[in-house]
Symmetry: C2
Subunit: 189 residues, 2 copies
DNA sequence: TGCAGCGATTGATCTAAATCAAAATCGTCG
DNA sequence: CGACGATTTTGATTTAGATCAATCGCTGCA
């Protein structure tokens, strides 16, 4: 399956039919509250799996944040396979576990101040795009803000401030070079 | 196993040897950051299971918040059992899933304002202590504050404000009667 | 080449919650 | 019963980040 930028892959509350693995591109999962506030619950990049739900329906919506190629597998097929094959069951458990750790880390983010949140976000993205110190961000400032529980203005100001202290450098607004990773790590307590 | 109030059951980073089920009492899991800030990640009451970890070690510490009687099972025994018995594997998966949903809900809490957080907390506790509208809180204001990402003063003021609007009533500082559940639900958007 | 439109930045002001500082209650134990 | 320590509440002040309001600067397209 392929999806264009900004296209919804599934909606919150819909039955969870497929499990998705990203071949190329990036995806975000999110929830919109009644008053329009949005919480981005996670970003998924090449190689990541998303759409796994504990009950039959999606707890969040998912949308492509860049052009995406996805591999899909029917949830029902996977469950049937897991019933017979212990290894598959194990992998399912591991996937849920990975997701759990992701969300637990996210909670620790949300109790920190703005600079710490942004630093943690940059390190998290850098860890996932292993090559070098340059991080290519597929998501907009608004997406980052909704992930970090901040406003777009605060994200922008904080990034700008980190640049002014030579901690990071912008090649362009979506390409960031980490110039002082230990300074970021120090913020990431 | 039994534990007294305020006694640590296990510490963050320790190998996860047991899985715990609460017979009576209450437990909280938490993490303390380098600068002393504490994040309570969850409260566990009678009937709840905690201590399940995706890798071999505990991601959080656990402590008894009241006198506790716990049932324990060796993690290794459980894993061995799951390898042979599909139902056990399923239960493991379901437990991890329950935990995942708990944490996802917790994230949605943390992006809300103080009143909404407190309202959501009260409803969550009320849902778990099914009898009537009275909620007996085993945890201190500080524990609630660290769970909600607020200060103890803000929690106290918010509860007091909810009482002044007749939404709740204090039998004592740890016993709360929900007098207007729909007002709380409205805050819980 | 110029310009329309969106995403990002910057600046000024406001506010919810934090912080600092006492007081008031509550339990518990001699 | 009374007193001490802990927990909770209340009050005054500060502040980090939100909100409101422009402006800037790409990027794509005619």
């Amino acid at each position: 399956m392929t999806f264009r930028r900004n296209v919804e892959i599934y909606g919150e509350g819909e039955p969870a039919v497929y499990l998705y693995k990203i071949q190329t591109g990036a995806v975000q999962t999110y929830k919109v509250l009644a008053d329009g506030r949005r919480q981005v619950s996670g970003f998924y990049l090449t190689g990541d799996t998303f759409g796994l739900e504990t009950d039959g329906e999606h707890a969040f919506s998912a949308e492509a944040i860049s052009e995406c190629k996805l591999l899909v597998i029917k949830r029902s097929a996977l469950v049937a396979l897991a019933a017979r094959d212990y290894d598959v069951a194990c992998q399912l458990l591991a996937l849920t576990g990975t997701e759990l750790r992701k969300v637990q880390d996210h909670i620790l983010l949300l109790i920190k101040n703005a600079e710490e949140r942004v630093a943690a976000f940059l390190l998290e993205m850098a860890a996932r795009v292993p090559v070098g110190a340059t991080v290519e961000l597929p998501m907009s400032r608004q997406d980052i803000a909704d992930y970090l529980g901040l406003t777009i203005e605060t994200v922008s100001r904080t990034l700008r401030h980190l640049e002014s202290t030579s901690t990071i450098h912008f090649s362009s607004s979506r390409r960031i070079v980490l110039r002082n990773r230990s300074a970021l790590t120090r913020l990431n307590t």
